[in-house]
Amino acid sequence: MSEPFFTETQRDALQEISNLAMGMAATGLSELLDAFIELSVPRVRSVAIGEAAQALREMTGLDGAVTAVRQSFRSGIKGEALVICRSGEIADLAVLARGPGGESPHETMSEIELVFDIANVVAGACVSSILDQLGATPVFSPPGLIGGGMSLDEVFRPDALTWDMALLIEVNFSLEDQNFRVHLVMLMAQESIRIVRDALDTLLGET
């Protein structure tokens, strides 16, 4: 039942595209934040609905209280991006929102605005970059808070989900000399997976 959606070639191609796209996203983020971004190797998995929460735990390695923000993206391929970090590390994120002159954002941004801002920047960079590789130009919805100080299991509530299978792409990054780590999980359900597969075939055909 593992990886039922993709052939090995397709899966390798998707991994390759994710690596490339996340590298480009990190370059953009580095320039925006004026800091060196350390990025993990993206993890790509397709999971059944019942395994989603477990997969999320395994991919992020997070336990304890987390803060999660969601954002929808839509093009031919549509889905949701989750940005998750440890609730205790949110204050540290402030360094990510420094203005162009390096000034502190504290006077001008509330904590929740800061979280939304970081989540949006991370999700936007990574999702745009991957979809760009697949030939799609997404439209994003505004970020919304799933919850602060919640457990990771509360992020996916199986009873509220309407899909059977989903494609998850996880990547996490941190800043040089900083402790915190921000996790991005891109989630695409059934019909989008088919479009991803077609896009992969097109790319594979070109090479």
Binding site: L29, L32, G99, P100, M109, I112, N120, F140, P143
Partner: protein, 333 residues
Amino acid sequence: MSDPVGKALDCSLSELVVERVGLGIFVVDRDMNVQMWNRFMHEHSGLSAQQVIGRSLFDSFPDLPREWLTRKVKSVFLLGSFAFSSWEQRPYLFRFEHDRPITGGVDHMQQNCTFMPLTRGREVVAVCVTIADATDVSIVQREREEALAKLREYANHDGLTGITNRRYFEAQLRDEFARWQRQGGELSILLFDLDHFKKINDEFGHVAGDAVLRTTAQRVSAVIRPGNTFGRFGGEEFALLLPGTTIDEAMLVAEKVRLTIGAEPVQVDGVRVPVTASCGVAAARAQNDDYVSLVNDVDAALYTAKQTGRNRTHIATTKPSLAQIIPAARPAP
């Protein structure tokens, strides 16, 4: 030349839509120079397209949050993705009037902003900003929050006297007791009861009884520290929580409360109803495993005050624990 239909036909339909839509739409380039400015922006800002296009947005609007806005736009250019701003975190970007001057209650139009990349090929050539009026939503939300706050208030307060109800008092007591267990220090509690309250009801009627309860709550509220939790514990029973207070200090508070209640008769419809109260005092001590046992201590003290003649204060006696009694009761072998 000024034929409006002819002019309209020169424009594409999408241009006409942009012009008429009830949404602020404008476009800036990399240097924050305005490239496009629709009618909504003109009407609300008072500056026309001719006045702002080709100039830096900050020249036309020096009040804008410069660093913040520059960074938002920069992120869109760099990452090729969207950026957002919600009225819930940042009520507005531009100081626009809203169209609810009478029913509003907010100072300016509440705004949701979206920053969209405009791309040619893979290059972001400009950023389009849309401003949506969220004033209505914000007002509905504020009203809902006010209603919720009121409900919470009702849920925690006693309807007759307006002071804290028992449920809320016990929750506070539980929290204070837990803090005392963790951090030590002092924690005292008063429990007092109006003397012969049934007789007041029988003699003067329930309306008078209710007035006595309300007056008692008011009189006591006026002499205690504002931060102290004061609640109606039962019918004619009241409780006062005294964190950081020794038993001796609590005794002084109890006497002040008791004397305040009985200082003068309560006036109800020209009738003078004399009132006195009995009071129990207890402080948390090591033998108290939980807050309920502290309530039992103070309840016992109040019972003694009643038994020994009423209109008086009694301190909970520090009974030696069983562990202390048993060795003494058994002679050493």
